[in-house]
């Protein structure tokens, strides 16, 4: 089994759209968000999976880093909150997450995710950032 295949199997995401801005931002749970926001969030979730599974040096290195983090977690699973901003044309303009301890991993996160283009622009009124929760578990998809 290749490292790429392994990485695809251990990354899962939960999605929560949130209002952009300060720490006081109001979280909008999916069940309270318009269907168009939820639809776009699901597409973002799937595209992040695709981007993380890229066959590029940065993505492969990042996948190995995630594997190491998961292996060192006593529960065998780990979650990473990720906030994503999408510009009006559908490009990932910024991301925010708790920084990793290693500069190379942080650089790889930016390389893999920032500047990527979604298949279509977001709803103009959609609150941002979109909050994704990356869950790395040992449960494989087969």
């Amino acid at each position: 089994m290749s490292s790429l295949r392994t990485r695809r199997n251990v990354i899962a995401f939960l999605i929560l759209p949130v209002v952009a801005g300060s720490a006081q931002a109001q979280v909008i749970a999916p069940h309270n968000a318009p269907a168009s926001w939820n639809a776009y969030s699901v597409m973002l979730h799937n595209m992040v999976q695709v981007w993380l599974a890229d066959n590029t040096d940065a993505a492969l290195r990042l996948g190995s880093y995630f594997e190491g983090m998961r292996a060192n977690d006593p529960d065998g699973k780990m979650s990473l909150p990720l906030e994503v901003w999408i510009d009006p044309k559908g490009m990932v303009s910024d991301i925010r997450y708790p920084l990793f301890a290693h500069d190379q991993a942080n650089a790889d996160m930016l390389t893999v995710l920032r500047g990527r283009e979604m298949p279509e622009p977001p709803p103009a009124d959609m609150a941002q950032p979109v909050s994704l929760k990356l869950t790395l578990s040992s449960k494989g998809a087969g």
């Binding site: 269907a35 639809a39 799937n46 695709v50 298949p119 622009p121 009124d125 959609m126």
Partner: protein
């Protein structure tokens, strides 16, 4: 053989027309810069529908319309994976019209180009009403003369028949009556996001 298809869940399950994948030695799903090999999981004995599975849902799954009726005269948008590469930059909201239902088959007026088999038929809410399967047979000539501009009569499998086929094969899908697009969003771009290329190598 090249056709189109669409994801029906976030687990890598995709629906296309059965005839697109008949006798394929290798099936490849392509879209958004990603190609994946896929496996034919099930084919319908009654409709031109097939279920295939790939490792990833690369964009998003369609949402089945749960509106009470497929009303005649509803504007719809459906095109091949290839055609949508161009159409997505346009602002069109429909390229056809839902004309009639005959059991599990929908009759549409729209331009059906090569490779459109398996494409989802979307209404203006961005909800899936059916799937293109073929140009209409002669018996539907009663619907009237073929409109100008290359548009013709096309048949689609209804969402209800696709849904029943998926349920029989243990696939869970989403259905809603809510618009999946905000007023600012482009239906052609959504169709391009939803429609995948399905390539069959025999």
């Amino acid at each position: 053989m090249q056709g189109s298809g669409f994801w029906v869940d976030d687990a890598g399950d995709l629906v296309t027309a059965r005839h697109v994948v008949d006798g394929c030695g290798l099936v490849v799903i392509s879209g958004q810069g990603m190609s994946q090999t896929a496996k034919v999981v099930a084919v319908s004995n009654t409709d031109d529908v097939a279920l295939i599975h790939a490792p990833h849902t690369s964009t998003m799954a369609v949402v089945f319309s749960e509106d009470v009726a497929n009303d005649e005269g509803v504007p719809v948008l459906a095109a091949s994976f290839e055609a949508l590469k161009t159409l997505k930059s346009s602002s069109i909201f429909s390229n056809g019209m839902l004309q009639a239902q005959d059991g599990g088959t929908l009759q549409l007026t729209l331009q059906a180009e090569q490779g459109a088999s398996g494409a989802p038929v979307l209404d203006r809410k961005g909800l899936m009403q059916g799937m293109l399967i073929r140009k209409a047979q002669a018996q539907y000539a009663m619907l009237g003369p073929i409109p100008m501009g290359g548009t013709g009569y096309v048949q689609a499998v209804s969402r209800d028949h696709i849904g029943a086929f998926l349920k029989a094969n243990g696939v869970t899908f989403s259905a809603s009556g809510q618009p999946q697009l905000s007023p600012s969003q482009n239906l052609a771009a959504r169709a391009a996001s939803l429609t995948q290329g399905v390539f069959c190598w025999k």
